[in-house]
């Protein structure tokens, strides 16, 4: 009915909206297609940014600006004529025909020609942001934190509904179920996403350690540059940069680059890879512990074996097996010393014995010589003594007189009447008393002979011996 050649499409559509029965989907799609081709009959040129490019054989992509996006297809025959590498974010002018693809119910532009205009605005913003942050040192390798080797608690910052979360959970549990995951739910797309992500990172940075959190996984599945844009915002970059805990980021597909990934301590291609990077492998750790246990056992075994060997070696020593051997050495030394003494003694004694016997032979002769010499000396001295001694003076007829005390009388004035005097002569002594009228002497020329007769007088006889004892003549004294 609406195929009638005289009817305008607008009229057909308005007629149909009012009328029953309803159109089939195919009919409706055909109507859309017809209206579209009639309204935009020829090729048009559109300027916009390439996005979601899939360029295998035929190229499928979107062309978009801030307000809208249109699906495009560029078949291989046309794509081959494009003489520059086409990338997402690139600002281009496409030439093509707008058509409606009924099979998918979508509007598509069949692109004949793609011309380069310049880089698209989002891509430009991204590159500008990367350049700025790189300049500020946000991406310097030296400030990136090392990842813990044994994570036991990991915070996962992503959306609850994201497939990425499930990938992290599955991988973590496969590697080591003992590793705890703590999920912080945030939006990962849209205007609210960036502030939420930044806040989550800041809170975990400040308080995560008190909850025993070792590291953070920041992740999101693949999407267009618009979808991932929250991860390119400065607020997120600052939060990643300031975070006290190490961050592993896996955002979008491997080919996507976001600012958050470049600033993060470690970048992974996928959420699975991020989990593998942080969650320790149970088997590897088990192996490490077993190795340690083995080494520990071996080390002690080795030491105890060594100690055992030393003990055996020591107990085998002759000190313990033949204690008598301890005496061998001293005995040998003693025997040796004895031998040496026996060897040495005769040699030392013989000369001494000879000298002794010679001395014994010489002794009487030398002694006699000495005696003779002494005798001669004595005689000579006696002779000298006799020549000068008091005896010789007395022999010449002199005498000397002493008082009763043996004191020498040198002057007549020393005596008075009644004093007893002793006069010494060569052959004896005479005792006398001083008379009243001067000196009166009673002399005895032979004292030895007259001793008896003089007893009646005042004289007293004294022996020669007594005289010698009483005094020495002071004649020469």
């Amino acid at each position: 009915m609406f195929n009638s050649p005289d009817d305008e499409p607008e009229k057909l559509a308005s007629k149909q909206a009012k009328a029953d029965p309803p159109l089939s989907v195919t009919q409706a799609a055909s109507l859309v297609k017809e209206v579209l081709t009639m309204a935009i009959p020829g090729k048009i040129r559109i300027v916009g940014e390439i996005s979601n490019l899939s360029n295998r054989t035929h190229w499928f992509f979107s062309i978009k600006d801030q307000g809208a996006a249109l699906r495009c297809v560029c078949f291989a025959s046309n794509a081959r004529r494009v003489n520059f590498p086409v990338r997402d974010g690139m600002q281009v002018v496409i030439t093509g025909k707008v058509d409606f693809f009924e099979g998918q119910g979508s509007l598509q532009i069949y692109v004949d020609k793609i011309e380069q205009v310049g880089q698209g605005t989002l891509e430009q913003q991204l590159q500008a942001m990367i350049a700025e942050l790189r300049e500020l040192g946000y991406m310097d390798e030296y400030r990136k934190k090392p990842l813990p080797t044994m994570c036991q608690r990991i915070a996962v910052v992503t959306s609850r509904s994201a497939a990425a979360l499930q990938d992290v959970i599955n991988t973590a549990h496969r590697r080591w179920a003992g590793c705890e995951l703590l999920h912080f739910d945030v939006r990962v797309q849209g205007d609210a996403a960036a502030p939420e992500i930044a806040r989550a990172l800041r809170v975990i940075s400040e308080q995560g350690e008190s909850l025993g959190i070792d590291a953070i996984i920041l992740t999101r599945g693949g999407g267009s540059i618009e979808d991932l844009w929250a991860f390119n915002e400065r607020i997120v970059a600052d939060a990643v940069f300031d975070c006290q805990l190490p961050i592993v980021a896996a955002i979008g597909h491997e080919t996507d680059t976001t600012v958050a990934e470049l600033v993060a301590d470690h970048r992974c291609a996928t959420p699975t890879q991020a989990a593998m990077t942080l969650v320790p492998d149970h088997k590897a750790l088990e192996h490490q512990v077993s190795q340690m246990a083995g080494r520990l056992r071996m080390s002690l075994q080795r030491q105890s074996q060594m100690a055992d060997q030393r003990l055996k070696a020591v107990s085998r020593h002759r000190v313990f097996t033949r204690p008598e051997s301890l005496l061998e050495m001293p005995q040998q030394r003693l025997a040796h010393a004895k031998h040496r003494i026996n060897q040495a003694l005769p040699g030392r004694i013989a000369p001494a014995a000879t000298r002794l016997s010679q001395a014994v032979m010489r002794l009487p002769r030398v002694l006699q010589q000495r005696l003779n010499q002494a005798d001669q000396q004595l005689k000579a001295i006696s002779r000298t003594l006799n020549a000068v001694g008091p005896q010789r003076v007395l022999e010449r007829g002199y005498t000397y007189t002493t008082d009763t005390d043996g004191k020498l009388i040198r002057s007549a004035k020393q005596v008075k009447d009644g004093d007893q005097l002793t006069t010494v002569m060569v052959d004896g002594k005479v005792l006398s008393v001083v008379g009243q009228s001067g000196s009166q002497t009673v002399s005895t020329p032979e004292p030895t002979k007259t001793s008896e007769s003089k007893k009646k007088s005042t004289r007293k006889r004294r022996t020669a011996k007594q005289d010698k004892q009483s005094d020495q003549p002071g004649l020469f004294g």
């Binding site: 813990p148 549990h173 003992g178 705890e180 999920h183 308080q207 750790l285 512990v289 340690m292 080390s299």
Partner: protein, 75 residues
């Protein structure tokens, strides 16, 4: 960031083994250290054999405090 108990235990084990291997400590001390080492190994195994498979939710309460809550088994 402080090292975890597992890593600390492994480091202590390394030290113990080196001490015993080098022979710098006597046999009695080696036995004491060996006993300490076996306890560390048990501790490490206990950490590894932990299998809670827990997923906790991190939330921030009204006071801005980070809480781990709603622990759930997740297999």
């Amino acid at each position: 960031m402080s090292k975890g108990k597992f890593e600390e235990s492994i480091e202590q084990l390394e030290e113990i083994i080196e001490q015993i291997e080098s022979g710098e400590i006597g046999l009695e001390d080696s036995i004491t250290q060996y006993e300490k080492g076996t306890k560390l190994i048990e501790k490490c195994r206990a950490i590894l054999d932990r299998a809670q498979a827990r997923i906790a939710e991190l939330t921030v309460d009204g006071n801005g405090e980070l809480k781990a809550s709603g622990d759930a088994q997740n297999d």
